[in-house]
């Protein structure tokens, strides 16, 4: 039985760890997935309310808490509805069934005679006087879930599939709602002087100069090359940390060459190689070849990372906007050398999280300080420049594509050669939290690794085309030494890979003299994939005029991870010296959709985020490190640059839910790349598609 259970249930079999009924007639739902701005708390509440037959408003969610919520690992990879949603559905159905079975025994009737109306139990049409709140304790909810309770058919859903309003949005609109807003009575503020990089040594720190200029009291906490300024006043410690940049002397700090900020610099570096798909044919004729690149990009969350920690009576409590409270607890235990049972990590919401950002790092910062300053709550807030300089970036990628064509102009074999750093270096998967590298005994250098294909791959994510191509081969070079720390960001390698693949498909279509949509459909046999492509073409009234007019029209498609949601995107834009997005259409198939408006919000957000990366974003490096340290040097898409967006969700409730928070990422980048190529009449294969690149492309060669 257990192999058919969702992973989160396998790891947390007791229903009473998930669901209990509180005295105020609410339902307490504890989950391990956390709210990152994606609306997961609302969607999981809908699923629980549906299966339990209670009003949505009765569900109160506790998410991400090592003391009181189940361990569901990390909130990543568009897995929350697929895995946690399936788990909550199964557990809620089992709770309902067990309680009704027990009531049937009590009433000496068949469970089939019983029903539930907003938590109250009915026999026929008559109230039994029993409900979850006065009767659930009679059932054994501590016994391991078996997964055999009947779940509702989707045709009877009343709450799942509706546009329930986000439960967390009102507080976020009007007041305190984020970890940044938490305040405890004995709280001290702290800021960090960051080690410039692994191996750098602090040889001098002019504390007196900092104190003279900071204008208030603080203490300096120093552990090896980890330095923190801690005090009652947030303004003062912020000043101290800013001043410290000019009053600290480091040696052994790494230096960078200008070209290290470009993806091309990765090609030929020492790497771990592997082949995904078929081995390339040894003597394949290479009729077409092109190299596509994307530079390093930042998560650039709107709020710099923040954490709170306190160490009292030998126990460490941490509040964090981490994606995984249990993995963070283990990582903290490893670094601090204390048993994980003495650590509690509780999730508190941060600004939008698109992957492995500074959340875990700042949690270690706070914990280290708390261990040095016990019995006080320590609140660490990163500075904006610190966030931009030290968050883990999404790796640059260079993707070389080659195809041999058959007589009809379609690819007969397809070969992708990818150069990239790691896409996942979470502390729980071999990476380091920053401060661990500054300690007197620094954490060892992480061993580079990338997610296996079973998890969707990292550098290889979406590198294998879904199209009907006889031979598909990917050679992945995982570059082992990178100029900057890289880790997981929305879609991992999917955005660069789909940008490259779908751009190259357009190049092949053009060579064959065929329309891009028709060309794709001619080599796509999967019905759900065809349907999103056909739907978006209809939405956008697809019909392309000649290239090079300045008005561009382009399409992009992928099925995220080749097994999550399907999405096709069409972009209309104007391009002269720069790109002005006009309209974007998107069709997506995510199977059973729990909250259609929430799903659309994710599609739209993914489109805008991907457009921003495609058109504008690049982490830049100077000799001493990252130079894109603010929103001027790391610009993102603004209100004046955002297109009109039309989305259509394919109705497919008979299919399981498919993760869709990342599904528009690759198709949007590809559609923009293809529309720019159409509008310009010449193709730019290097992101971002900036004014400089467009001007260079327009110069007569």
């Amino acid at each position: 039985m257990s192999e058919t259970l969702p992973l989160s249930v396998v790891n947390n079999r007791r229903p009473d760890r998930w669901i209990r009924f509180d005295a105020d007639r609410s339902v307490h739902l504890a989950v391990g997935k956390v709210e990152l701005g994606q609306g997961i708390i609302t969607a999981l509440s809908q699923i629980a309310a549906e299966e339990l037959d209670v009003a949505l408003g009765r569900v109160r969610v506790l998410s991400g808490d090592t003391a009181d919520a189940p361990d569901e690992g990390s909130t990543t990879s568009s897995q929350s509805i697929e895995v946690s949603g399936a788990s909550v559905r199964l557990i809620a159905a089992e709770v309902r069934a067990r309680v009704l079975d027990r009531l049937a025994q009590r009433l000496n009737c068949s469970p089939d005679e019983l029903s539930v109306e907003d938590g109250a139990f009915m026999r026929g049409n008559a109230p039994t006087g029993h409900d979850y709140w006065n009767f659930a304790h009679e059932a054994d909810l501590a016994r391991d879930a078996e997964g055999n309770a009947p779940r509702k058919p989707h045709s009877s859903y009343r709450i799942v599939g509706t546009n329930a309003a986000r439960l967390d949005l009102p507080a976020k609109l009007t007041g305190a709602a984020f970890i940044h807003d938490m305040a405890r009575p004995d709280m001290l503020h702290a800021r960090i002087l960051r080690q410039p990089g692994r191996g750098a040594r602090l040889v001098a720190l002019d504390e007196a100069a900092i104190r003279r200029a900071a204008g208030g009291a603080f203490r300096v906490v120093r552990v090896g090359n980890f330095v923190a300024f801690v005090g009652e006043g947030e303004t003062v410690v912020q000043r101290a940390a800013t001043l410290a940049l000019d009053h600290a002397t480091w040696d052994n700090a790494r230096r960078f060459a200008p070209d290290q900020q470009e993806a091309a610099s990765l090609v030929g570096r020492p790497s771990i190689e592997r082949i995904v798909g078929e081995p390339p044919p040894p003597d394949a004729p290479e009729l077409m070849q092109a190299i596509y690149t994307r530079p390093f990009v930042a998560h650039a969350a709107l709020a710099p990372s923040c954490a709170l920690a306190e160490y009292r009576a030998g126990k460490l409590s941490v509040w964090s906007h981490t994606q995984g409270v249990y993995p963070l607890r283990q990582s903290l235990a490893n670094v601090l050398g204390i048993e994980r049972e003495r650590i509690t990590v509780r999730h508190a919401q941060g600004a939008g999280c698109y992957g492995h950002n500074g959340a875990d790092d700042v949690a270690l910062d706070a914990a280290l300080i708390a261990m040095q300053v016990p019995d006080r709550c320590i609140r660490v807030q990163w500075r904006r420049e610190e966030e931009f300089a030290f968050e883990p970036f999404s790796t640059a990628m260079s993707i070389s594509l080659r195809a041999a064509l058959d007589a009809t102009g379609r690819p007969a074999d397809w070969m992708a050669e990818i150069w990239a750093g790691t896409h996942v270096s979470r502390p729980s998967s071999g990476g380091n939290m920053l401060a661990a590298e500054a300690l007197p005994t620094p954490a060892p250098e992480p061993k580079p690794q990338d997610p296996p294909e079973a998890n969707g791959g990292g550098g290889t994510r979406n590198a294998v085309p879904l199209y009907d191509i006889p031979v598909k081969s990917v050679l992945h070079h995982l570059v082992t030494r990178m100029p900057v720390r890289t880790s997981a960001m929305r879609g991992l390698g999917a955005l660069p890979n789909v940008f490259a693949m779908e751009g190259f498909i357009d190049e092949l279509a053009e060579r064959a003299g065929q329309d891009p949509v028709a060309y794709r459909l001619a080599m796509m046999s999967e019905p759900r994939a065809r349907r999103v492509i056909e739907t978006v073409a209809r939405l956008a009234n697809w019909s392309r005029g000649p290239a090079g007019t300045g008005r561009g029209f382009g399409i992009g498609f992928s099925r995220y991870k080749n097994r999550a949601a399907y999405a096709a995107v069409v972009v209309e834009l104007d391009v002269d010296e720069s790109v002005k997005l006009r309209r974007v259409w998107c069709a997506a198939d995510a199977g059973l959709v729990i909250n259609p408006d929430g799903a659309r919000n994710q599609l739209e957000g993914g489109i805008i985020h991907a457009a921003s990366i495609t058109l504008k974003e690049q982490v830049t490096l100077g000799a001493e490190g990252v130079t894109s340290l603010d929103w001027d040097s790391y610009p993102i898409l603004r209100f004046s640059e955002v297109p009109e967006i039309t989305t259509e969700l394919i109705a497919a409730p008979e299919h399981p839910s498919l993760g869709m928070g990342e599904c528009t990422f690759g198709p949007t980048a590809a559609a923009i790349g293809n529309a720019v190529a159409h509008g310009l009449g010449t193709r730019i294969r290097a992101m971002p598609l900036t004014r400089e690149r467009i001007m260079a492309a327009l110069l007569p060669s």
Partner: protein, 153 residues
Amino acid sequence: MTRFEVNGQPVEVAAEAAVPLLDVLRNELDLKGSRYGCGLEQCGSCMVLLDGEPVYACSRELGSVAGRRITTIEGLAAHPLVAAFLEEQAGQCGYCLSGIVVSAAALLDRNPAPSRADIVAALDRHLCRCGAHTRILRAVERAATALREGLPA
């Protein structure tokens, strides 16, 4: 001691004059809806109204608001904009929203019938990383209509 008005209430703050208004609002007055995003006047998360005009609280020194009138998001909780944002589900993480509502309130105050371009211009100094822009623009339009017609958003 600096005296000024916040959300219609007189306040006295002992902090030194050079302390950023944002730190005073958040840490002295417990008004957490104004948020730290950059401290550089680049993102708009900290936007408040100073005598009705939107200003960045992150860079505004306390001393400069003596005797003046500050409105934070907490003072706009009953504004039709808030209802309109909820109606449109205009947001994802929500971190940018309080500053955006503040700027939008100032816009609607001086221009009750803004065009889409007017709204874009008023919000263009605000950053939203999650990509809720199109919903936010619709929410401001909805609030403008509600205000003009005296209807709930």
